[in-house]
Assembly symmetry: none
Homo-oligomer: 230 residues x 2
DNA sequence: AAAACGGTTTAATGCCATTTTAATGGAGCA
DNA sequence: TGCTCCATTAAAATGGCATTAAACCGTTTT
């Protein structure tokens, strides 16, 4: 995945430098401006994912800059920084298009956490970074294609893996054979095949047989559900 | 457009009531629970767009509840409330899947603004949450295909489920046997079968027999109606 | 090129829950 | 009383599902 680019606009050099360093260590790509005008210039000439704006800035204040950014791009996330902690300020900040608001002095960890929360939401990549799906004690690593339960690794074939992944992504949801056929196989219409039944049977043998609890339940006439311990 | 539904879980009754009132005035639809367990129950049986959770709750704390919500649904927005203002708390909150974090005492305007910012950012569509139908104390989850009444789950077969779904979708409306035949079975015309009568009987046994009130009423010569206690 | 192999799919069997049919009796009404 | 309409029960038919074995297919090995 490409780097996340951050525009930081903060006139207190010391704070700016601390943030730049900290964010860079977290593998974000950071550009810094020390006043609103410079910030605007950077924004106009570079693609950013997120902007961190102090409110009290020389030349052009944080609200104006936030509005400018919003008017050009709805996607970019904006976090405002301020020394004040008044509700009016926050409201104005949000109305200028900010996504979050942090009051100085703040903890760097908190800033990080808020950045991550926002980015995670925006790219709607649940569990960004870790490509892992879980249901109870069953763990599926989408990168290494490894599946484990109770610590023991379970070797699965490609189709078995795809089917299990589909089940996990739809956990607690009853999926019909047609759903499965369309999403795991590329069958549109083939009423007479029973591959799915056979594969569910394969899966059950591998992920349930030697373990304490069931995972895949049959809903007669409806389909199958994967769910942990009723 | 459908209302935005909010689940509020807060044990301090006074705060809960103030919030409920304020949010309702803003045209949000609000359900309130006073402990984590009750909150979980509401969540499991209703479709919400946003949850506001206090952290210190009896029975099940806010973090646990947030995790529960996340594990079922990535779409629902979660805002945490707390009296503490430590970074560790916030980090734990965000890791539990919260989207925002508000420290008490807070200004109601600020809460509103944050709610709006979150909803806007996600261009969230109200009702995108779980697929649930309800009539009185009868709840039908279309995803998990689970039906409960007074909290007790009632196992239904595929046909029973379809029939009940049809009744619920047409609640307070008298549906003729022909309507049912066409929509639940795929029969056009078969005057001599009495499957429908038999299945209505099955349903009544399961969803009425051990409960306090009737749900399905017979309209002689016309059909059946599902309606809650008049 | 043939054989061996792992993975996938088809086919066949039997069980049993679900669905449907059929029969009976009661309530309401002319 | 006889008729229609519905509720209820039991019994019969159906079809869905689990399971096993064997066929198929592409890849690798010899």
């Amino acid at each position: 995945m490409a780097e996340t680019k951050i525009l930081l606009v903060e006139d207190e050099k010391k704070i700016a430098e601390t943030l730049r360093k900290g964010l860079t260590e977290q593998h974000y790509e950071v550009d810094v401006a020390y006043d609103g005008g410079a910030g605007k210039k950077l924004f106009d000439t570079n693609p950013y994912d997120l902007a961190i704006l102090d409110i009290n800035l020389p030349v052009m204040n944080g609200y104006e800059l936030a509005r400018h950014i919003r008017s050009y791009n709805e996607e970019i996330l904006v976090i405002m920084l301020t020394a004040m902690n008044t509700t009016e300020d926050k409201i104005e900040g949000f109305e200028a298009g900010a996504d979050d608001y942090i009051v100085k002095p703040f903890d760097f960890q908190e800033l990080l956490v808020r950045i991550r929360a926002l980015l995670k939401r925006l790219h709607h990549q649940p569990g960004a970074g870790t490509n892992i799906l879980k249901v109870g004690d069953l763990i599926m690593n989408l990168d290494s294609k490894e599946v484990t339960r109770e610590g023991r690794t379970i070797p699965l074939t490609a189709k078995e893996f795809q089917l299990l992944e589909y089940f996990i992504r739809n956990k607690n949801k009853v999926v019909s054979r047609i759903d499965i056929a369309m999403n795991v196989w590329d069958i549109d219409f083939d009423t007479k095949t029973n591959v799915i039944d056979v594969y569910v049977n394969f899966l059950r043998k591998k992920i349930e047989k030697d373990f304490s609890s069931k995972l895949i339940y049959t809903q007669v006439g409806m389909g199958y559900v994967l769910k942990e311990n009723v």
